[in-house]
Amino acid sequence: MMRLDRLPNQRDDERVVLFLRRHWFAILSIVTAFVLLTSIPLILGWYFWDTVDAWLKHEVLGPVIAIIGSIYFLSVWLFAFLEFTDYYLDTWIITNERIINIEQEGLFNRTASELDLASVQDATAEIRGILQTIFTYGNVFVQTGAEKARFHFKNIDNPEHVKELINALVEEDKRRLSSLGAGSRGKIKTVIK
């Protein structure tokens, strides 16, 4: 279990400035799919109740339908929850010294990367399409000088604000490092578990 007050490899004076997950619209997609997949068979069953009731009372069809129904509803519940876990474990943590990106892909692939703020050269916010414009969510790309790889904050809330915050923190971190006489430490470090 990760604690925001005890980050992995936390440095002295490092504090969490922003903790991000994908926009709640991602949750809405999961909930909508779950509601549709559960309600449609229930509504059909209710509408054709006389037929369904006869099937359920049959000594052979009844058990088969009951088992198929149980497996169906348990599967919908399980896969909705797997999708939720994928959403819940995708996180971005911005501290006053670095950016940490933790990405869950399915149940068995997980990537954790971190990036020193001093190495950030450019942050870009992107809002595309009607939904992203209405609900004010989108992507932020963080580009470093040394590396071609970019940090990608996917479908986060208020990307413009996040971009400005990153730029402000980068400036602050660069000032802090130059006052200490240290150079850029910037590298993307990736750990795949």
Partner: protein, 94 residues
């Protein structure tokens, strides 16, 4: 013309399918909960999520078990009489 062999299977063979699925479900759920607890952010929300998932699973499995308990699983399916299962009560014209 020709005779199909008339073999019987008990209805409870379908329960093995359900049990196999439940094994898969339990394994996948445990993996899911492990991931949430191992990599989730510490806090009340994490416990709430695990509780909701476990509670939902308990309700669905209990509902399934109560529903399945109502059937006579010793009944046998006779493939020779399979045609008898088709009737207008079960498959009415829509």
């Amino acid at each position: 013309m020709f005779d199909l062999p008339n073999f019987n299977i008990p209805v409870y063979v379908f329960l093995f399918v359900f049990l196999a699925y439940m094994l898969f479900y339990v394994l996948y759920s445990l993996f899911n909960i492990y991931h949430l607890i191992r990599y989730g952010i510490y806090g009340f929300g994490l416990y709430l999520i695990v509780t909701i998932f476990t509670g939902g699973t308990i309700i669905l499995v209990s509902g399934s078990v109560f529903m399945l308990m109502e059937y006579d699983w010793t009944h046998t399916i006779s493939f020779g009489d399979a045609v008898d299962y088709y009737n207008e009560d079960l498959f009415p014209a829509l």
